[in-house]
Symmetry: C2
Subunit: 289 residues, 2 copies
Amino acid sequence: MDLPERIEAGMQLSLRFATANGCPPLFAKAIRHAVFPGGARIRPKLCLAVATACGDSDPQAADAAATAIELLHCASLVHDDMPCFDNAATRRGQASVHAEFGEEIALLVGDGLIVAAFETVARETMHAPRLTAPLIATIAKAVGSPYGLVAGQAWESEADINIDQYHRAKTASLFAGAVSTGALASGGSPQDWLPLADALGSAYQVADDLYDVIGEGGSMGKPVGQDARNAKPNIAIRLGIEGALKHLRTMVDSAADSVPECPGRDAFRAMIRNEATRLMPKKLAASAA
Amino acid sequence: MDLPERIEAGMQLSLRFATANGCPPLFAKAIRHAVFPGGARIRPKLCLAVATACGDSDPQAADAAATAIELLHCASLVHDDMPCFDNAATRRGQASVHAEFGEEIALLVGDGLIVAAFETVARETMHAPRLTAPLIATIAKAVGSPYGLVAGQAWESEADINIDQYHRAKTASLFAGAVSTGALASGGSPQDWLPLADALGSAYQVADDLYDVIGEGGSMGKPVGQDARNAKPNIAIRLGIEGALKHLRTMVDSAADSVPECPGRDAFRAMIRNEATRLMPKKLAASAA
């Protein structure tokens, strides 16, 4: 199986457990809606690419980590779209979970996805007990408090926001979790891959901010101009589109340069440039490539 | 340390990690507000009591499980109190998290507590890798979908609600998680303790329903009459107060009877009767004891 197939198979497996016989039917439908069809699946792809570069000695553990990372990403999107945050009616080109199923179910779908993420790692690493705690601790650090996704989101409610700490927690942390768990699952060294995660996290944040300003829907499929409306920090508003594009090019170069020595280094660098282009709003992709 | 001291120490330790240097200050304050002061801490007490009855061979693992169970219980209360669910302004005699800190922060506090729960187990079982996956899988089953707390809550949004499945998932499942992890952490047999969890879960659900109808605040400290207002299933409304009290007495007897053979069986049974009385609305406690 290629990486996208492994990712979808892992997501399907976890959702089969979460929606097994006895699950409230509406909730089962809603949790699937939150996960399928997916977006670019960039974080689990990165996790598995790093695992592959490190030899992929335990594909079951790597798949579990990749799945958990993406389930948590989906959870954050569901909660992020809710009325008290972005109040977004659409996501990935379809109705957001709360718009389709109501706020109660959306809140629970997010909670359920967080639980399913950790459950997946526990279930799929029973054969390799030495991996369970490090993988779960790494993933929890990436999404929790004080340095993960939840903390990043919480910075938006602070009167005095530290924008670097905010972006690091809200975006870079999950990229760090993806590369670290990919390495851990395959006996590699997580530290070697962190500079790549940092650069990719920054690049992705700029791309996300550009999407918000110039629109187009694209792979993120969410409404335009939300950040200005919600007075959220946005690099493309701060630096202008040209400035943000320049920053993005630097970040992508830096990401490609920071792939550590490994057998498939050239292929990995090519993949990064390719994914980076794919994530950019199409009308800008050519000029930023 | 006695059990309540162990529990508070465990909760403090987890919160120290979650609110470490770099945490958004408002979020740090809110997550502490969600956890301290605690309620009756009945689930972690039960977890540690079972661990003790099984020999308490790994108190660090048992403490981690007890802490995780209570963090998840606190998370469920924070999300449960939010406007889209119970819209409760108070909890445990103080303002609920969303009433004090806003909905955004309340949503994130719940998410952060879920992550912190699993992080706690991973961090505190690094010395005993064989325990990590079983403990986390057991806890995830108790709180996730299809059979745990999240699914229980989700049943409330179904047009056709199965009330036994609903109560089992919403209340009994976390009691099952508490006894199972207490046994697992100490080399005991989780299955032996499940009948106790079932009976206690049912008793607790009836007590909760009675509180909702006759009020008093008490250890749950939440507003009265919410279930009727929100058209939620409530045994004390369905059977009447006398009927519900009779059911409660049967459940407490059944719980005490279902303590399996173990060195401190009599003490354990006494503790159950004592806790059961303590949880009941004071004006009913005498007649139900």
